[in-house]
């Protein structure tokens, strides 16, 4: 919603970290942030500054951090908040592999060094027909990709989530084939909307939302956005993705939000925005059609769901 047309994101639509930190400081001075966490206040300030549509009010920090799917910690919506605390996220390194000129294992701090952290308020649509509006902090994935120098054979990017059953109790059950893998076509990964997420509401990313580093692709169903990324691999052929492996007829590779193509077991025409009573209509490409529809020109979206 807040992001302009590719390739560049108008700076007016992104709140740089400095700006909202300044706001927080200002409010603290004004005594508003005397309220313990100050998070709701920050949320309001950020919302007021960058929100475009009154329909897209950011979901509360509490709801974002207590209702999500992260099967590595259990299949219940509150399991991630309950069990993710035990995950140790420092030190963290990411392996870069495949069709790149600069493969290797990188320390996360080194990869974050020099990146400008932006605040971007994205719609998040789960394949289960609920949605949120999330003020993420982070930057475009393309910044990393160009740094790794993919070769001309790199047509896809695969993301692997941490495999650590000792700290991820959900991985002790084989509800899904572990580790969790997801993938994007190269042009999707290079799209400026595709984001590396480092934080939420101006705070460090909580473990249950994918700390220390996750991806967010706002025009795709949530399961495309891998959490706790430990490996980024560039491939010539389309990589596997976990939910597709688990139920190929229900979850495709593309998983673009599309109200006209139903999941076999439920309709995708509408969604429940967390915090709202009435279901609302789901938008094509989750409302980002202006920015991303051109990526899929000529592609049969029904066959490539």
């Amino acid at each position: 919603m807040l992001i302009g047309r590719p390739p560049d994101i108008p700076s007016s639509e992104i709140t740089p970290e400095r700006a909202y930190l300044d706001r927080r400081a200002f409010m603290a001075a004004a005594g508003v942030a005397a309220v313990a966490a100050a998070v709701p206040a920050v949320g309001r300030a950020v919302g007021a500054a960058v929100r475009r549509s009154p329909d897209d009010k950011p979901t509360s920090y509490d709801d974002i951090t207590h209702y999500n799917n992260y099967y590595e910690f259990g299949t219940g919506k509150s399991d991630p908040a309950r069990y993710a605390g035990q995950l140790v996220t420092t030190p963290w390194s990411i392996e870069v592999a495949g069709e790149v000129r600069k493969p290797g294992t990188y320390h996360l701090e080194d990869l974050l060094h020099g990146q400008t952290i932006e605040q971007r308020i994205y719609r998040h649509r789960c394949v289960e027909a609920w949605s949120m509006v999330i003020p993420w902090n982070g930057f475009s994935l393309r910044n990393w990709i160009t740094r790794f120098e993919p070769t001309s054979r790199a047509k896809f990017v695969e993301f692997t989530t941490l495999l650590r059953p000792s700290q991820m109790p959900g991985q002790r059950d084989d509800v899904l084939p572990w580790p969790y893998v997801e993938g994007l076509r190269m042009d999707e990964a290079m799209h400026p909307l595709t984001m590396v997420v480092t934080g939420l509401y101006g705070r460090a990313l909580p473990n249950q939302d994918g700390a220390p580093i996750r991806i967010h692709v706002p025009w795709k169903y949530g399961f495309k956005s891998g959490k706790a990324i430990v490996r980024i691999r560039f491939t010539e052929t389309q990589p596997a993705n976990t939910w597709h492996l688990s139920a190929p007829n229900e979850y495709g590779f593309y998983a673009n939000v599309n109200p006209n193509v139903d999941h076999p077991r439920w309709s995708q025409a509408r969604e429940r925005r967390i915090g709202e009573f009435f279901r609302r209509p789901t938008l094509m490409f989750n409302g980002y059609a202006d920015q991303v529809a051109s990526l899929y020109a000529g592609l049969d979206l029904r066959a490539n769901f």
Binding site: D62, D63, H66, Y67, Y71, T75, K77, S78, E128, W130, D173, V175, L176, S246, A247, D262, R265, W266, S267, A269, R270, R272, I274, G275, F277, F278, R279
Partner: protein, 223 residues
């Protein structure tokens, strides 16, 4: 305390126990304790309690056979009606709150989503059972009542399938309910030698199927 008062007190206690999940649900709803997606939470809770009470209700007859406590049969109708209450609440939460009477979408879902088709059918199957549960109708229907109420097994199966088809990957809980249901059905078919002697007349002319274990007397509500 006479036997009759004791029975009445037990029944009242059981009825109160059946209401507890509903009271807790309403209290949690009013108190904002149903989490970020309260409507979904209410659907899950009413659904789970509907299945739980259904299993409890269907457990009465096998338990009576195992223990010989025929007094248990007196609680079956009430448990069945409580089950039906939770099934109805589950349906109404979906129909009236989640979908908010959006008949167009509700119709499409019933027609196109197998788990909803099956769940809705199971709900419809239970309606005639609830309607025919009062004593006068039971008497009037006689043998046919028994036949009609064997629909409860179809509905139970439908409820389990509805649950299994609804979940995405984690089948742990639905599997538990399915296993319990299958076990209860098997218990009805397996004869229990020595535990409870069948009347002589029955031994002479063995009846077929599960109906054989039902007492000769007036049919009691199975739901």
């Amino acid at each position: 305390m006479t036997r009759r008062t004791a029975r009445r007190a037990a029944k009242a206690a059981l009825f109160t126990a059946c209401l507890v999940p509903l009271v807790v649900l309403v209290a949690d709803g009013l108190g904002g304790r149903l989490g970020p997606n309260p409507i979904r939470a209410a659907e899950l809770r009413t659904g789970i309690w509907a299945l739980t009470l259904l299993v409890v209700t269907l457990g009465i007859t096998p338990l009576r056979r195992l223990t010989g406590w025929n007094v248990l049969a007196g609680y079956r109708r009430m448990l069945g009606l409580c089950t039906f209450t939770y099934v109805t609440l589950h349906f109404l939460t979906w129909f009236g709150i989640d979908e908010f009477f959006a008949l167009k979408y509700i119709g499409q879902d019933i027609a196109k989503r197998p788990y909803i088709t099956v769940g809705f059918t199971a709900f419809l199957l239970l309606i005639p059972l609830a309607v025919t549960s009062n004593a006068a109708i039971v008497r009037r229907l006689g043998r046919r009542w028994q036949t009609l109420h064997s629909l409860v097994y179809v509905a139970a199966l439908g409820g389990i399938v509805h649950f299994v088809w609804e979940v995405k990957a984690d089948l742990t809980v639905p599997t538990r309910y399915a296993l319990v249901l299958v076990a209860l059905l098997l218990l009805r078919l397996v004869p229990l030698p020595g535990r409870r002697r069948a009347p002589a007349a029955r031994r002479a002319a063995p009846a077929h199927g599960s109906a054989a274990v039902e007492p000769r007397a007036e049919p009691t509500p199975a739901l």
